[in-house]
């Protein structure tokens, strides 16, 4: 295990995190090199090549699999390792699907996509057979990698963080060999398997796949919300798992969730996730539309333009009603599940320290209000539907009553929707949102990095911080300053040069050019004096129109351009660059001095300097 190039947890975690940065392939390579340099103080012992799913436009894309392959090779030493970082879930939309889908497995596609991508990467890099294939994953991607490994023997090792566990129901469906083993051992058929005790199946699966367990290594944070929802049936752990304890005041989200019946927990999670996603930008209209299908802007149009609005927006209105018809009942069901248990559920959160009593009361009361509004909306929709259905719209005399009831219905919907918005706005408070933020944050890789208990090292936004005494230095920023800072200073020097030559051109040359223009005119005048007869009439003493110009002589007089010297400023600007360069070097020395116990540091600066020259 320790022969791998990436042989520390920090390295693995930071590289797994890169997947989320949305980097181009060359940026990705740079970042991998930088991370390695920061962690090890040396350069990667080989050539790196990157291959990502953004390059493939085929079955991999169709499965929705996203990932990046890193190949490290050194001809001389025979080193050949391929790391495949699979991307976990990202947006709240993915989360919601995950939370719902996860209770029954993701489906076969992702594992297929994983295996196909790994094979494609191997052939793209033209790897020798002895190449080690190592999978990295976070969140849902762990399920992808591990399932692919169990089904297709894809990896040598898998390293995951806060991963979604394996699902034995999913494996039963997809792994025919496992299915046979289950049948042999437990004598159940494809339906009865759901009646078997989950604990029994869990043990059986762990036993059956125990050989593969040696290849799977996980780190998980105790408060990871994904871990919280994975206590339900279907899930099982495989491989070695390092569970990091939380050291703050929040006790086990997992514990809370384990208290709540599966169905309710699922709905609560989904609601919370949807709510936070929709309120992210503070756009409540979108929030209501997203959850209920009711489009307030549309209804307002109707209110304003009444009859014409009704006719010109027929399609939109029909669509809105259709959407609401679909969304409201489902939403109502979700909300009911939560409200019927709300006291119990939110009490758990109070006890665990996430919210206090008054926040809980607020949540309970507003959710109850929302439920009432939804019930009303459902009723309005069904009443309205029955009016519509009971009279033919071709009948003229009924038409206006339909119109009237339509408009009436829309306005009633509007008032209910507005009431929901008011409730949402009451709940959209920073303190409640920050609870959600915290819960989301507990799933992040950076949180795990900072929980590893590393003495003097911590992480923020992909940067590595080092501490000595009471000083904390952002080492990544220091290296950036040293390398990129120099580039900026080079650019500044160029710009100063440009300023200098611009002045030359815009001031000095320009004056010469203007003089030339004037001289041309002078020449013109002297050559064609008669064309300038009008000049005579300007003179108050010459009144007669019979005058004729004979000649014009211009008594030329040109000043030299006053000495406009910007040289002094240019000089000072250049000095400022020199000062800055010196400053950067002083900073480097200061850091090296602070961390003189760490030999790596000065090596890091040297290497980073080499790269930029």
């Amino acid at each position: 295990m320790s022969e791998d190039v990436f042989d520390t947890r920090e390295l693995r975690l930071r590289i797994t995190q890169l997947e989320y940065e949305g980097l181009s392939q060359s940026e990705y390579k740079q970042e991998v090199q930088r991370i390695y340099l920061e962690e090890k103080g040396e350069q990667i012992p080989g050539d790196i090549k990157i291959y990502s799913t953004s390059e493939s436009n085929d079955i991999v894309e169709s499965t929705g699999y996203v990932g990046t392959a890193i190949h490290i090779k050194d001809e001389n030493s025979g080193l050949s390792e391929m790391y495949v970082v699979s991307e976990g879930s990202q947006t709240a939309a993915d989360w919601e699907y995950n939370i719902k889908g996860i209770f029954g497995g993701q489906g076969a596609s992702q594992a297929i996509g994983t295996e196909e991508f790994v094979e494609k990467a191997k052939s793209h890099f033209d790897v020798p057979d002895s190449t080690k294939v190592i999978g990295y994953s976070h969140s849902l991607a762990h399920n992808n990698n591990a399932t692919a490994h169990l089904l297709y023997d894809t990896f040598n090792d898998i390293y995951s963080v806060n991963g979604a566990p394996l699902d034995y129901y999913q494996l039963y469906k997809e792994d025919e060999k496992f299915k046979k083993a289950v049948e042999k051992e437990l004598s159940v058929n494809q339906q009865q398997i759901f009646d078997v005790s989950p604990k029994k199946l869990e043990k059986f699966a762990q036993e059956y796949y125990k050989d593969k367990a040696d290849d799977i290594h996980q780190i998980r944070y105790e408060n990871d919300p994904l871990y919280a929802v994975s206590g339900t049936r279907g899930f099982f752990d495989l491989g070695d798992i390092d569970t990091l304890q939380s050291n703050d005041n929040y006790s086990g989200l997992r514990y809370i969730m384990d208290q709540i019946p599966d169905e309710d927990a699922k709905e609560l999670q989904a609601l919370v996730v949807e709510f936070s996603e929709l309120t992210k930008n503070g756009d409540m209209n979108n929030g209501v539309k997203g959850l209920t299908g009711i489009n307030l802007e549309l209804i307002d149009k109707l209110k304003e333009h009444k009859v014409t609005g009704y006719f010109t927006n027929q399609n939109e209105l029909a669509q809105m009603v259709k959407d609401a018809d679909e969304k409201v009942p489902r939403l109502l069901e979700q909300v009911k599940k939560v409200t019927s248990n709300s006291d119990f559920i939110f009490n758990q959160f109070v006890e665990a320290g996430y919210i206090n009593s008054s926040q809980k009361d607020l949540l309970v009361s507003e959710l109850t209000n929302i439920e009432k509004d939804l019930v009303d909306i459902e009723r309005i929709l069904s009443d309205w539907n029955s009016i519509r259905n009971s009279s033919s719209s071709y009948n003229q005399s009924d038409f206006s009553s339909i119109l009237g009831s339509d408009i009436g219905a829309f306005l009633a919907l509007r008032s209910k929707a507005t009431s929901i918005i008011e409730s949402l706005e009451i709940l959209n408070r920073d303190d409640l949102l920050s609870v959600l933020e915290k819960i989301k944050g507990d799933h992040d890789i950076t949180t795990v990095l900072n929980m590893l208990g590393l003495d003097n090292k911590s992480y923020v936004n992909g940067d590595m911080l080092l501490k000595t005494g009471k000083v904390i230095i952002n080492m990544s920023a220091a290296l950036r300053m040293y390398e990129k800072g120099q580039n900026i200073l080079d650019d500044k020097k160029d710009e100063i040069k440009k300023l200098d030559s611009s002045v030359e051109r815009e001031i000095r040359d320009s004056y010469q050019e203007e003089k030339r223009k004037i001289k041309r005119v002078i020449h013109n005048i002297e050559e064609n004096p008669k064309a300038y007869s009008y000049l005579l009439y300007k003179d108050p003493f010459i009144l007669n129109l019979n005058q004729e110009i004979i000649s014009i002589e211009v008594l030329e007089e040109f000043e030299t351009l006053k000495q406009e010297n910007i040289d002094n400023y240019i000089k000072q600007l250049n000095e400022s660059v020199a000062k800055a360069r010196k400053y950067v070097n002083n900073y480097r020395n200061a850091i090296e001095e602070l961390f003189k116990e760490e030999e790596k540091i000065s090596n890091m600066f040297n290497l980073v300097e080499e790269e930029s020259t």
Partner: protein, 198 residues
Amino acid sequence: MEKKQPKETKQEALPDVEAFNDEYTRDFLLSGEEVMEGFYRFQSKTGKYEMAFPADGIIVEQAYRIKDSKSEEVSIGLHDERGFGMDIFFFSYYTPEDREGILRRFKSRLGYDGEFEEIEKLDKTIYFVPMEDDELKTYGAYIENKQNSGGLEVVYNIKCDNEDEQICEDYKEEDKAKALKWMDSFTFINDKGVESDE
């Protein structure tokens, strides 16, 4: 998603078999008329393929998966004497270019090491593999659409463990023929412009 199944009118009585007696399964079946002996017409909720569905079969609701009209997973529990189950994995995006990887993975999850038997049909190609040496006889096939993209990985498991070896051997030909017949019953629905690929 438009439902394409015509619902049975109250007049027509549905056959009194497991498949129609189970409410969840009935929803997938198009008609009470047999398409071949003991089988009825089943249509995928993606609207992209049909197959013959066994009278004694029940679709396992907890195991059912559909993702837009891109992929679908159907698990069927069989309640006849010897049947165990059928599994159907449909992927609308499979193409002949992907075949090598598809077969490689299929073999892996079947636990099979040999070659596929290639059976050409007019509208599809069936890559067939019989695995007949276990307590569960497994017949697997990758069915490739000839006219459009799309492919099916299907597995038919038949029980053998309660019988003595001889009966198992005797039924071998019959079981294999049954499996092939079922696999041949798959048809892809290729209308363009009617179903949109999401």
